[in-house]
Point group: C2
Chain length 339, copies 2
Amino acid sequence: MKPTIYDVAKEANVSIATVSKVINNTGRIGEKTKNRVLDIMKELEYQPSSLAVALTGKKTFTIGVLVPDIANPFFAEVARALENNARKSGYALILCSTDYQLERENDYLELLIKKQVDGLIIATEPKDLKQFKNLNNRKIPFVMFSFDHLALESNVVTTDDIRGGYLAGRYLWEKGHRNIAVITETQRASGHLRLEGFKQSFVDEGMDFSNTLVIQAKSKIEEAKEAAHQILKMEKLPTAVFATTDLIAAVFINEARKAKVSVPHDLSVIGFDNTIHAEMVEPGLTTIAQPITDLARYAIHQLMESIEKPDMPAHRMMLAPTLIERESVRDLNKKNSLT
Amino acid sequence: MKPTIYDVAKEANVSIATVSKVINNTGRIGEKTKNRVLDIMKELEYQPSSLAVALTGKKTFTIGVLVPDIANPFFAEVARALENNARKSGYALILCSTDYQLERENDYLELLIKKQVDGLIIATEPKDLKQFKNLNNRKIPFVMFSFDHLALESNVVTTDDIRGGYLAGRYLWEKGHRNIAVITETQRASGHLRLEGFKQSFVDEGMDFSNTLVIQAKSKIEEAKEAAHQILKMEKLPTAVFATTDLIAAVFINEARKAKVSVPHDLSVIGFDNTIHAEMVEPGLTTIAQPITDLARYAIHQLMESIEKPDMPAHRMMLAPTLIERESVRDLNKKNSLT
DNA sequence: AAGTTTTGGTTAAGCGCTTAACTATTAATT
DNA sequence: AATTAATAGTTAAGCGCTTAACCAAAACTT
């Protein structure tokens, strides 16, 4: 059987309180006893049960992570970054993919509450606000990751999507593109924000954006292909396409090649997220990078803070995205140049 | 404060034992009281603390998942599939990326033991067997996922990698390929097994495999590129390349295109894993699919079994991979055909 | 030498639940 | 009507830990 604090205490001829104190380095314990207890703990391979520890009014050192789908590379990378940061503070992550389904969202939320997680990172947009407000009532701290919702009283750590869109737009403008098509992802609000910023960058240059083709698609291969076809079969092709996720952009590049449209020679493409797709596709995808590492670090940091100090006011931080230049956008100002 | 069983009991004018019984549907409780208690539980939004439940000698309903890196699409998909299955039984997953590092492996194992997980799914090859044998001693059930290790007494659920390699080899042979290069992944033993099977398929046809070029590379973009270059700069190109992971294969395809080598016209490529890379690359990658869904289902099932019946003998199951035909392999028997 | 601190512990209650053992009703049996 | 059996619930111990409150012995005071 797993040894308990009693086993250690008996072996060391002390009370369990003493053992507890050496474990936590609290109270006053003599050097000799301390070392004896320590030795015995090692010998018995004793590990305090975090269940019992948690039950005694302390923390569970567990945080719940709600993502739409961990199989999506973006969220997989997010999970990894969160994990790295949580680990440093001794926290474990319980992973939950909601799959954009209300039922799963509720089930998982209930599960996590039962498990007494110390806090949550929520990277999936709520289907049902009620459950999330419940978190507020129960004083369970959480931070919204990469999305925002004014109805929820909590920390927010997100990429500045509007700015990201703006960056993409300005870059395309600078490279001389005026005739553009956009494919926006529909499942997350960020898709709209990115479009918003993108549009703004053109409006700022005095361009009329109103008759720009905007297609909606989920960030799934099939829908992305369809959206790509819609664009590729136009009588007059745009000179550039802005896709609000890398997956959509990468699929577009592949479909373009199949349609004998060369990227970036005939058509430029810019994406968003800087996931592995951007690196894997050929030509490499110029894209707007979300600062995943920083997002994760701040998110965990904020969460830890509000776990420690429950009535800390909720911050909203928007981290700046950056443009990653690869080979998928052509500079129309340089004649005959391929890049 | 979070309501406890005492709050419910007081409100319902019964003892906590009664409440406990209606929660768990054990013992004999009258209809009226039962409903009253149920109502009050709902009203108070009472959720039993799984900590306390677990401490009372029952299960934690948590399982630990050890993967090398959740940001790797293959493991992300695995995690997702595991999650789906675990969820059905009310289990939560604690996610741990070992990053192939001994230290992280040990830290996480310790963490999981402290947390009293009911069992583990281990999808990362042990750096240090000692820690894993410890699991055996502590009677913590685990199943080895997609790798095998004879020193460890436990359930194994894995893809039949040898057979997968064989499948790939036979397919290439049937398509008329005789001059082949292989890029094998080095971080996981499965890479060698896949090569083994691949080789065997050629040997079975009476071909001498000994002077076939075999390059080693980690399943990382940079190393894959380098391996690709090694092959692409050969004076006489092989007719086909077998890469033991899709990532390596996809990178190869992209590098080939840059080198003006057309896949599959000039050179065929076959991969392994059937991850999202296989779908995203252009042309679509013909590859050996690991039966992730089935693997996950069996793994969770086996784990549940050995949680319920601790002295069940350990099974080793090897699930059959299947060949997924896309467009990256050319049939050399059909003259002038591109596929 | 008697009083005061300091040191190094111990005792016991409590965290939120489960469960074996028990008890008090009510119903069934003859 | 007396005995047995079933029903509906209660009591209390225990899971493995933390922590406030307490205490005995050793070490300083003056």
